[in-house]
Amino acid sequence: MSTSGSIDPGAPEVAELATEVEGALLSAENVSKIFGGLVAVNDVTVAIPRKKIVSIIGPNGAGKTTFFNMLTGLYKPSRGKIVLDGADITGHRPDKIMAGGVARTFQNIRLFSTMTAVENVMVGQHARMRAGLIGSILRPPRVGREERGTREKARDMLGFVGLETKTFDELAINLSYGDQRRVEIARALASEPRLLLLDEPTAGMNPQESEVLTTFMKRLRDELDLSILLIEHDMKVVMGVSEHITVLDHGEKIAEGDPATVRANPRVIEAYLGKQG
């Protein structure tokens, strides 16, 4: 697992290019998304520093998932700019953005249901592989090596996220909900991202399992030097891992800061946390 070596935050040219938020891995600057008449995300600026876990919280329909979809290129922002490591990626295709090092999971699990766990994770490495049409057919040694390497790595990843070896070759659809979440994370990780976006990863997990995931996220940050952007409604998880929290409501940023600050913010309590938070 040597993804860490590939990221070189200190490279001078990168630093030079970085705009707006100094040193941020990814920054969204004043992005908005309008559906018909509905402003789902309104002028939101968020910066994600390197090797940090940042969370976005907010009531239902606040625009969190929409914001994710803009970061990953599934939606094109109606306004604003998204900058990844100094390069403007606004409106780029999702696959390009993924190739640039941003990987995600989905609020409703979206595994490739008729593929095994291992194959799912292998797909995650698509952007890091090179075999083309002809190469795939003729399969020269280079491609064979690549293929074996990919499979190895997929198994490593699945082990890393804690899937039992015996379920590696099960079809995704037959896995339990929790395991499906794990495979999704492994699939995202396999692409060697610099930034991992997790959309409600603990939904449908019980508190005990959520706790395990919390620890796991910290491990990712520390061992793989990843940044993580997390959407989550489970406050225990959010408060437990985040170094920075942004709160959205009705598409607008209503608060941000470290967990303690956010938690104490009356607007956040009123709009989102409720009395027991």
Binding site: L74, D95, R110, M122, L133
Partner: protein
């Protein structure tokens, strides 16, 4: 019984099972015509079946692997056949001052006007033309979802069929319409003597068999590759696929191109084998025929597709005309069943599908799948491909 089953299961899971099946099967198939008369009608049916296997394997890449429902596969059959018609007949008879262009053509063909390329060159031409056509046809479908793809491919199939029938725009004549470009040069390969289908069709059979072996090889290689996985990912969930770094446009176009290439390959062969390229052949029903092979065999399953193609082809060219229609005769009745063959064909389609809804040999993935009827879910709006 269960012992057999488990043995079978472990064989299926054996790494080289496919290779083993393929080698044994193709070996056996290769020598079988020697035991039949050289013009035997059954070998004839086999040649057709093999050619359809190649087509079906091509369509399987598009529909089975990548999940792009293609109802216009006939377009590639047409392009492939016309490659043979254009480059291996006297169709362009006025070219080169009526002297013709001959590259590696057979002895008889070398004396004719028109363009006469060697069969292998014709195949290359067919593959190039159809791959490009495949991509062009694929282009407008890229933003479409689900069955909208089906109708656009269907539309192209019809448009191309129509162009084939009309054959001429202004003064430029590019097909012979329903009057057929004929004859097409006999198949001849370097170092071998010409395959004359009036005396023996074994040569055609072996060439078709080689093409099947080649198609199988490519299909298996593609399926178990980076590209194959990408196709299946797209089939399952486009949004997730693109979010995993799979470029939709490029990957889909490659599926279209690869699938089309086989259609072209087989089309060029059939044009040569039939000795004629007639616009009558290029109808929607043909697309349906090939699609039925793929689905009936087991969508996405390579061996299933092979079996499906052989089954339908034999129903069409052997069972109905040679067996079924002969029944009244053998019972001493003077009743003509040919007028029912259409319906019988339909009836068999219905029966087989109802008896084996998953297909004759379902794809391994689908066999493992417990839950049914899953697939890519609701539409995505904005993925700009």
């Amino acid at each position: 019984m269960s012992a057999i089953n488990s043995n079978l299961e472990s064989f299926r899971n054996w790494k080289h099972a496919n290779l083993a099946i393929a080698v044994v099967l193709i070996g056996a198939l290769a020598i079988f015509p020697l035991f039949k008369p050289p013009l035997d009608g059954f070998i004839d049916d086999c040649v057709l079946a093999l050619a359809y296997v190649v087509m079906a394997l091509g369509l399987n890449i598009v529909v089975g692997f990548a999940g792009l429902l293609d109802l216009g596969f006939v377009a590639f059959y047409a392009f492939g056949s016309y490659a043979a018609g254009w480059f291996a007949s006297d169709f362009f008879s006025s070219i080169n001052g009526e002297k013709g262009i001959h590259i590696g053509a057979g002895t008889f063909a070398s004396t004719l006007p028109g363009i006469h390329l060697n069969f292998l060159l014709v195949l290359v031409a067919a593959v190039i033309i159809t791959s490009i056509a495949g991509m062009i046809i694929g282009l407008p479908t890229l933003r479409l979802r689900g069955d909208y793809i089906a109708i656009v491919t269907l539309a192209f199939g019809e448009i191309i069929g129509r162009f084939a029938v009309n054959g001429q725009i202004g003064g430029f004549k590019y097909t012979n319409g329903r009057q057929a470009i004929s004859p097409v040069d006999a198949l001849d390969l370097p170092l071998l003597k010409e395959f004359d289908s009036a005396f023996s069709i074994r040569g055609y059979y072996w060439v078709a068999l080689t093409m099947v072996a080649f198609s199988l090889f490519v299909n298996f290689r593609l399926r178990d590759s980076r590209l194959g996985r990408a196709w299946i990912a797209i089939r399952e969930d486009e949004v997730a696929a693109v979010s995993m770094g799979i470029p939709l446009v490029k990957t889909k176009l490659m599926a279209y191109a690869a699938g089309a290439a086989f259609g072209g390959l087989s089309g060029a062969f059939l044009g040569t084998y039939f000795n004629s390229v007639n616009a009558n052949q290029f109808q929607f029903a043909f697309s349906i025929f090939i699609l039925s092979m793929v689905i009936l065999g087991g969508l996405g399953s390579i061996w299933g597709t092979v079996l499906g193609a052989i089954t339908l082809s034999f129903i069409n060219s052997y069972f109905i005309p040679d067996v079924f229609n002969g029944i009244p005769g053998s019972l001493g009745l003077d009743f003509d069943l040919t007028q029912l063959s259409f319906g019988i064909f339909g009836f068999l389609l219905v029966m087989v599908m109802i008896l084996r809804p998953e297909g004759l040999l379902p794809e391994k993935r689908r066999r493992l799948e417990l839950k049914e009827g899953i697939g890519a879910d609701e539409a995505i709006v904005e993925v700009r491909a």
